[in-house]
Amino acid sequence: MAGEVAGEASAQVAQQKGSSNKVAKKNDDKGSTATAGQTGMDATVAKVNMAEEKKRKKAEKAAKRAAHKSTGPEPSASVSTSNVRRPSSTGDRGAANAATQGHRQNQPRSAQESQRPKQNVQQRGAGVDRESDAHKQTHFTKTARKSSKEIQPFGDFAPRKRPQVSDASKEVHPAVLALGFQMSHYVVCGSTARSIAMLLSFKAVIDSYTTPVGTSFARHFTAHHLAKQIDFLISCRPLSIPMGNSIRWLKDIVIREDPSKSESDTRRDLNRYIDEFIQERFTAASTIIAQTAADRIRPGAIIVTYGGSSVVKEALLTAHGKGTPFSVFCVDSEPLNEGSNLALALQAAGIKVTIARINSLTRLMKKASLILIGATAMTGNGALYARAGTAAVATIGDVNKVPVLVLCQTIKFTEKPIVHGLEMNENAPGEELVVSQQPPPDSFDAQTGGIIRVDKWAQWKEKEGVKVLNLLYDLTPAEYIKGVICEHATIPPSAVPAMLRLSGGPAQGA
């Protein structure tokens, strides 16, 4: 494809560069994953750079051929054997990440390469509603589409794979193994639930751990045992920010354990610390937030919520418990249907609920008085990182001047700024979106239309030119958020880093 573009007018040089870079990037993904997988060593940046350099040259020579290849088999290296160990990255995405790092390092090398990050941003931006980028964008995607269907804005964003039992290393504890599969199939879902479940499973890991002769608990446990558990969890689903924060905290207290303490004492103490941590940073924090948020709900208010945040649920139940009359619009979306699950819980408590699909947002927002949403993370630049669809709810709320409040424990705060919706995002397996294993009993009849007919797409993998993008998260910029209710105070999103600093950082506590 890139070759064809090259053959076209010279005015399109920029596009051509973009496309050939794209190709190169594809290859990098494969290359670096393979490296990591084969050697079983840390995927060093230097290696990636070399691989990238080589592949890119090849790509430029025979761009057309490479373009063909790029749509071939996906990177197949087993993720669990890869030792790319980053708390915030995934096995699958580890490769992509490494490649991106390579880009950054290469940046100053040549004029052509300095074009790359810019092009990348443009390409990635294509799927995100960024008005500022929009017009640049259309031009680019148009040419890209004209020349080939194969290059897509999310081409480098490989979907997560379902884990296999055989992928797990033998050291993985059964509790972690079970949790991994539960997370992968959304049985345990939601960042609060996942973090707590992870910490509880680590308690089991600690309980059944014996320090090998010649090492100490603090030295061996984290590096050689806990790491394997974490790797397996990552291979099931990427870690969320609060999970990463919790792991950082756990590693910190393990390392500070007195080596002269007896092993059983160490185990007992660590288990106690974990319990306290869960209580302080998740459970109690959530209760305080729920109370603050409940005070915000006025009699007669119409609350809009999206997804199935546990804190929002607690807040609504608290407000209902106080006798405030209000009703809730539970905005729901495929494929997780968290909104209708939340509605069920609220209805059972006697709250008036309306279930609405996300496509009816503009209409229902006219009546709304307050939007309460949960978060996966609040980032250092004040943006909200949450379930895909949240940005749509917040922006439409903002247009209608409905205030958006985020309910978020400080454990979900991160200093890391996220400026782009694809950063850290997770592309779930496509079949979850188009193939419904067991159609929910209350879903629409296929006759009525409105949703994609399940059977038509059952064989989507065999169909040509189809990719399914099943992103799980999106990013809401700070300007659409009126306030963040955390356990210490209500703050504007810009004060997230200040709160993090003053409350002692994410890893402190207990």
């Binding site: 007669g300 119409i302 009359p325 006219k366 306030g483 703050i491 810009s494 003053l502």
Partner: protein, 373 residues
């Protein structure tokens, strides 16, 4: 969150103390025209403490809570006041929790009393500090639009005018928004003193050779093209960085934004309130600004007030009747528009000039976090 809603406040228990906090507060306010509401509240609380015979920390705190509640209940708009009482309570907590604070309660009490007075003195000095910061915003050839009777705005403009003597004189003009003749009702003497103050600032500036034009509120948009900046005072600066100020400030902010002129707020940092309003009707107070009336049996009758208005959309009528709508007994009612306040959201504010520097609205929250943690 320490919202100053008085709905949860217990009924008064006059027997618990014979010290009349409200009278003291009013006396203090009346005796010193330079005193702001939060500082008067702090001073009144310090006085209450010195009159009390409390011998334990717990007793002192209970007494403080009681007096604070009394004060808040007696004032129709306790937002500004609560900034002072919250600050004092916080100060008290940190003082008694200090590791150095040993068992000697009497020492702690004396320390509190002397430091409390020091605190009052320091906050009075804040105004001069603000004036010296803010003076640099008023440059040669500027035209400043302002409203209300804010003392700190007056101090700022005076300081700028005083700097205009000599060779490096700053020539600036002021457009002052004065509501044409306020209330005839005698009960709102507070509002007329505010007007008096506005007029006092006008004549003070004019006597210093600063050209001042006075305009009614309806002429704000008309005058904006020749304005270079808007400077307003505030009753309270809230956690989001927005301000609560006298009615009309919000519309000035909106007009200034529409005209592309910066809006600066001048406020001492003791006016920072622990309140996070999301909109106009979210201030925790009741105002009689909007009242829908019909004529029934030949006389006007209010059918709907702002009470319980949802933040946006809808109206109080849609609410289920009778929940959270009981009259708050013993609360002095707001006197219509004269004393009313509105909320200017942080998006409209370019900077907040305080004694600790010029802050962006988002920095207010950080300052507050620093105070409270």
């Amino acid at each position: 969150m320490a919202t100053p809603t008085s709905s949860q406040i217990l009924p008064p228990k006059p027997s618990s103390s014979d010290f009349d906090i409200v009278a003291t507060y009013r006396r203090l306010l009346a005796s010193d025209p330079d005193l702001t509401m939060p500082i008067a509240a702090i001073e009144a609380l310090v006085e209450a403490l010195s009159h009390s015979s409390a011998t334990t920390i717990s007793e002192t705190l209970t007494l403080l809570e009681h007096h604070t509640a009394n004060l808040k209940r007696s004032i129709s708009n306790p937002i500004s006041l609560s900034a002072g009482t919250d600050l004092f309570r916080r100060y008290l907590y940190t003082t008694v929790q200090k590791p150095g604070a040993t068992g000697d309660f009497q020492a702690i009490r004396n320390h509190l009393l002397s430091n409390g007075r020091q605190f009052v003195e320091r906050t009075k000095a804040a105004r001069d500090q603000i004036a010296s910061f803010g003076r640099h915003f008023v440059r040669d050839g500027t035209t400043v639009l302002t409203n209300g009777g804010s003392r700190v705005v007056g101090a700022l403009l005076r300081s700028a005018a005083d700097a205009s003597g000599g060779r490096t004189s700053i020539r600036f003009r002021v457009i002052y928004v004065l509501s044409p003749s306020t209330s005839s009702s005698s009960s709102s003497d507070k509002a007329s003193t505010l007007e008096g103050e506005g007029a006092a600032i006008v004549s003070m500036l004019r006597s210093r050779g600063v050209p001042v034009a006075t305009i009614p509120e309806s002429a704000v948009a008309y005058s904006l093209p020749q304005v270079s900046m808007v400077i307003v005072g505030a009753e309270g600066v809230v956690e989001s960085g927005g301000i609560i100020s006298r009615l009309g400030t919000y519309q000035m902010g909106m007009l200034a934004r529409a005209a592309g002129k910066p809006l600066y707020v001048v406020a001492e940092s003791h006016k920072f309130v622990r309140l996070y309003p999301l909109g106009q009707y979210d201030l925790g107070i009741e105002q009689k600004v909007i009242e829908f009336k019909v004529i029934e049996n030949g006389k006007e009758e209010v059918v709907e007030t702002e009470r319980g208005t949802p933040l946006v959309g809808g109206s109080a009528r849609m609410l289920d009747e009778g929940v959270g709508m009981e009259d708050e007994v013993g609360k002095e009612e707001m006197e219509g528009v004269d004393e009313a306040v509105d909320f200017t959201p942080p998006e409209l504010i370019s900077g907040i000039i305080t004694e600790s520097g010029v802050l962006t609205p988002s920095a207010v929250s950080e300052e507050l976090i620093k105070i409270w943690f």
